[in-house]
C-alpha cells in the first residue's frame, strides 16, 4: 500500500513539475485509466463486452462543449454535468441493450456508436461535421488534476465492486445469469447500475478531454479506435480485476509513447496484435500472471478471518393457514407442443410432494413455470394464498421459493463461501448475511473447505453446495430437481438426511422431481405422476406405485 502511494505521488508530481509534453501524457494516461475502469465495470465484472462505450465518451464531450458554449457554464461544472448526461443515457439505453446477451450486446453497442456519429454529423446545433471549437483557454494543470480525481473515483468504484456484496451480485452475472436469478439477484437492476457507472465515467473523461483539446468533432468523439484502446488496456492489464485496468493503461501508454515513435502509422495494428496475443496466450492479463504467484489476488468477498460459528435463523412467524403452494390448471405450450397440460398440485404445510414421470413428461417445465423461468400459457400459481404469476423469478426466490437445478449451476469461479453468501444476501435472512452463511456452511458440512474455489469440489459436493445455496435463501418452499441423480448410495443417504431435517430449518413445504424412486418413496407424503404433460395419478406413494396406470406409463410391467 505504501509503495503504491509513493508510486502514485511520483506519477502525480512528475507531470506537474515538468508541464508541457509530460503533463499532456499524464492527462492522456489518466483518461485512459478512467476509460479502462469504466469499461471493466460492465465488460469485466458483469461480463457484458461492449464495443461501443465510446458512445458515452462522445456524448460527454459534446455535452461539455455545448454547455460551455451555449450555457456558458464553467468547464469543470460542465464536465460534471456531462457525467450525469452519460449516466442518464446509460440508464435509458441500458434497459434496451442489456436485454441482449453476449455478442448481440457487443455488436448492438458498436451499432449505437455509429448511429450517434451520424446524428452528430448532421446536427447543426452541435456544429454538424465541422464540430465545435471551444475557447482556447489553457488550463492544463487543472485538467490534469481533474482527470486525476476522476481516475481515483473510478478506482474507488472498482474497489467497491471487488470488496462488497453488490460487487458479488455484478460478478454473478458473468458466472451464470439464470442461476443468479434463481437465488434472488435482481439481475436487470444490477446490470443497469453497473452500466450507468460504466457510462458516467467515460462521459466525464470525454468532457475533460474536449475542454483540454478545445475542440470536438463527430469523428474523434465516436472514434471506434478509442474502444479498441480501452479494450486493449483492460485485457492486457487483467479483465475483471481491481488493478488490471490501471496497470494495463499505464504500461501501454508509456510503452506506446516510447515505442510508437518508430511506427507512427501502425499504432492500432500493434494494439490489435496485443489483444490477440493477450486473449490467446495469457487471458488473465498481467494481473492473471501475478495471480499465479499469489499476488494481487481478488479477496474473498465479506469473508471473515475464520469461519464464525453462525446461528440458526430465528423462526419467522407463520403466514396464516394457507397451503404453501397451490397450482391450478397450469398449462405451458411451446408453439404446438403442450408440455404441461392443466396440471394442478398443492403442497400443504409440512408436506413433501414428489413428482415422478418418464423423461419428457414435463416435470422440469412444470418446475420452471412455478419458479417463473418459463411463462405459463394459462393457470394460476398461489404461494401462501397469494397469486405470484406476475412476479419475476428473483422476487419469487426472495420470498422464499428456492430451487435446485438438474445439473448443478454454481458460480464456477466463486469460492464456496461466496456461492452461499450470494444467496444469503437476497434471501429472507439478508439482515444477518454473514452469520446465516456461516450457519449454512456448518450445517451442510462445508466448514473445512469454505474458502475453496468451487472448481475444486467433487461432483457430489457440488450438488451438496447447491443444496446449501437453497438453504441460504432461508426458504419456505424448496423445489428439488433430481437431486439424487448420479449419486452414490452414501451421497443419497446424506441428502436424505438433509431432506428429513428440512422442517427444522423452517421450511414449510418440499416439492421434488425424482427418478430415483427408491430414494424418495419413504420420504414423501404424496406422489404425483406426470405423463405427456398430464397428471395421471396422485396419492400416497405406496398406492401410486401400484396403480396399474402408473405402472404401464412409467414403471413398466414385469416381463
Amino acid at each position: 500500500m505504501i509503495a503504491a502511494a509513493v508510486l502514485l505521488a511520483v506519477f502525480v508530481a512528475i507531470p506537474l513539475r515538468s508541464r508541457g509534453y509530460l503533463l499532456q501524457l499524464g492527462t492522456d494516461t489518466l483518461s485512459a485509466v478512467t476509460l479502462a475502469y469504466g469499461w471493466n465495470l460492465i465488460g469485466g465484472f458483469a461480463g457484458y463486452f461492449s464495443f461501443g462505450q465510446v458512445s458515452f465518451y462522445g456524448l460527454g464531450a459534446y455535452a461539455t462543449a455545448l454547455l460551455v458554449l451555449r450555457a456558458h457554464m464553467p468547464w469543470y461544472f460542465a464536465a460534471l454535468v456531462s457525467g450525469l448526461v452519460g449516466a442518464a443515457a446509460a440508464l435509458l439505453l441500458g434497459r434496451i441493450m442489456l436485454r441482449l446477451r453476449g455478442i448481440l450486446f457487443a455488436l448492438g453497442m458498436l451499432g449505437l456508436a455509429r448511429i450517434l456519429e451520424v446524428i452528430f454529423n448532421n446536427w447543426h446545433y452541435a456544429g454538424a461535421s465541422v464540430g465545435l471549437s471551444l475557447p482556447a483557454v489553457l488550463t492544463p494543470v487543472a485538467v490534469y488534476v481533474g482527470m486525476g480525481l476522476l481516475a481515483l473515483i473510478s478506482f474507488c468504484i472498482t474497489a467497491y465492486f471487488v470488496y462488497s456484496g453488490f460487487g458479488l451480485d455484478v460478478m454473478s452475472l458473468n458466472e451464470d445469469e439464470d442461476a443468479a436469478l434463481s437465488v434472488g439477484v435482481p439481475t436487470t437492476r444490477v446490470k443497469v447500475i453497473a452500466f450507468i457507472l460504466s457510462g458516467a465515467l467515460p462521459a466525464v473523461a470525454g468532457g475533460l478531454t474536449a475542454w483540454n483539446h478545445s475542440y470536438i468533432d463527430p469523428t474523434s468523439a465516436f472514434d471506434p479506435g478509442v474502444d479498441l484502446l480501452t479494450v486493449v488496456y483492460v485485457m492486457f492489464g487483467g479483465i475483471g480485476t481491481l488493478w488490471g485496468p490501471l496497470i494495463g493503461a499505464v504500461v501501454l501508454m508509456i510503452v506506446g509513447e516510447e515505442f510508437l515513435v518508430y511506427f507512427p502509422n501502425l499504432e492500432l495494428a500493434l494494439y490489435g496484435i496485443v489483444v490477440i496475443a493477450t486473449v490467446l496466450a495469457f487471458p488473465g492479463g498481467l494481473v492473471g500472471l501475478a495471480n499465479r504467484f499469489g499476488w494481487l489476488m481478488r479477496p474473498i468477498i465479506l469473508a471473515p478471518k475464520g469461519l464464525p460459528a453462525g446461528a440458526p435463523p430465528e423462526r419467522a412467524p407463520a403466514h396464516g393457514t394457507q397451503p404453501v403452494l397451490e397450482v391450478r390448471d397450469l398449462t405451458v405450450r411451446f408453439g404446438g407442443l403442450t408440455a404441461v397440460d392443466r396440471v394442478s398440485l398443492s403442497v400443504a404445510r409440512g408436506e413433501t410432494v414428489c413428482i415422478i414421470g418418464a423423461n419428457g413428461a414435463g416435470k422440469t417445465t412444470f418446475f420452471n413455470a412455478i419458479t417463473g423461468v418459463v411463462q405459463p400459457t394459462s393457470g394460476e400459481i398461489l404461494y401462501f394464498g397469494q397469486p405470484i404469476s406476475h412476479l419475476p423469478t428473483f422476487r419469487r426466490a426472495q420470498r422464499g421459493m428456492a430451487r435446485s437445478f438438474q445439473i448443478p449451476r454454481l458460480m464456477p469461479s466463486f469460492t464456496v463461501w461466496e456461492n452461499v453468501l450470494l444467496a444469503s444476501r437476497h434471501g429472507r435472512q439478508s439482515h444477518r448475511v454473514v452469520e446465516h452463511t456461516a450457519w449454512v456452511l456448518h450445517t451442510m458440512g462445508f466448514a473445512g473447505m469454505w474458502r475453496d474455489p468451487v472448481s475444486r469440489l467433487t461432483p457430489g459436493f457440488q450438488r451438496q453446495l447447491e443444496f446449501a445455496r437453497v438453504l441460504a435463501l432461508s426458504p419456505e418452499l424448496v423445489m428439488l430437481d433430481e437431486v439424487m441423480a448420479g449419486m452414490t448410495r452414501e451421497e443419497q443417504e446424506q441428502v436424505r438426511g438433509v431432506i428429513r431435517r428440512l422442517p427444522e430449518f423452517g421450511i414449510a413445504g418440499v416439492a421434488c422431481v425424482e427418478h430415483v424412486i427408491a430414494a424418495v418413496a419413504d420420504l414423501c407424503d404424496r406422489m404425483v405422476v406426470l405423463d405427456f404433460g398430464r397428471k395421471i395419478a396422485e396419492g400416497p406413494s405406496a398406492e401410486v406405485l401400484k396403480d396399474p396406470v402408473v405402472v404401464r406409463a412409467y414403471l413398466g410391467e414385469p416381463i
Binding site: G47, F49, F51, I96, M97, R99, L100, G102, I103, L104, A106, L107, G108, L110, G111, L112, R114, I115, V118, N121, N122, P224, G225, L228, V231, V232, M235, N265, L266, E267, L268, A269, Y271, G272, I273, V274, V275, I276, V279, L280, P283
Partner: protein, 286 residues
Amino acid sequence: MLALQILVNGLLLGGLYVLIAQSLNLIFGVMGVVNLAHGAFIVVAGLFTYWFASSTGINPLAALPFVFIVMALVGAGLQPLLVEPLMKMGRSKAELLSLMVTFGLDYVLVELALQVWGSSFVSVPYLQSSWKFAGLDFSQALVVSGVFAALVSALLYWWLNRTDSGKSLLAASQSETGAICCGIDVKRVRMLAFALGVALAAAAGVLVIIVEALAPQTADDLTLLAFVIIALGGLGSYVGVAVAALLLGVAQSVTGYFVGGNAEYVLPYVLLILVMVALPGRFRRA
C-alpha cells in the same frame, strides 16, 4: 415506374448483401463466432481488386478466382492460429473471446490496408453504363455484381444441403457432439467453414468495389451490415438471411431515394435497435 425502379435497384443491392451476410453467417453458424474482421476481409479484397484492375487494365472480375483461393488459404491459416484455441473454452466463453480476437484482427487488417492503399475512397471504373429494359434502368455494375453474388450464395446453399462435405458442415453447426459421433472431424469442418467464410467475404469484396467506392475505414460498417442482416434473418438460418438481405437492400434503396444518403447509411443500425426493442426474443438462441 419510379417505384419499380427503386425496387429493382434495391433487389440488386440486396443480392450483393446476400453474399456479404451469408459468408459471415457460415462462420457464425458452425462456430458461434462472429468474425469482426469480416468487413476488413471484404475491404482488403476489394482494394486489391482495384489495384489489380487499375494497374493491369484487366477485367476486375478476373481477380475473383485468384482472390477467392488466396483468401481461403489465409482463412485456413488464421483459423487454427487464432480461433481454434478458443473452442476448448465452452460455447459462451468462446463466443465472447473470439469477438475480442477478431476485433484485434480487424484493426491489424484495416491498418495494414491503410498503409498500402491510403484512406481515400476508390472504386473500379467498370460497367459504368446501364441497360434499358421495359422502361427501367439496370445499372450494369449492379446487375453483374448482384447476380454474381446471388449465384455464389445459391451455390453455397446447394453445397450445404446437397453434398456430403456441406452436410457435415451443417451437422457440425447444429450439434458438435452429434457430428463427432457421426464420425465428422469437427476441427477440420471448423477450419473449412472459416476458410470458406473468409473466401466468400473476399469474393463479396471484389463485387462490392465494382458497385461502390470503398476505403479501409468502411470495414466496420460492412461487418455491422452483415451482422444486422443475419440478426434480422435469424442467427444461423440461411434462407432467413437471404430474405433479410433482399429486404434490407430494398429498404435502403427506398430510404435513400426518399429521405437521403445519411438515412440510408444508418438504416441498418436503426433497424437493429428497433428489432432489439420490439422483438427481444428474436435474438435468443436456445
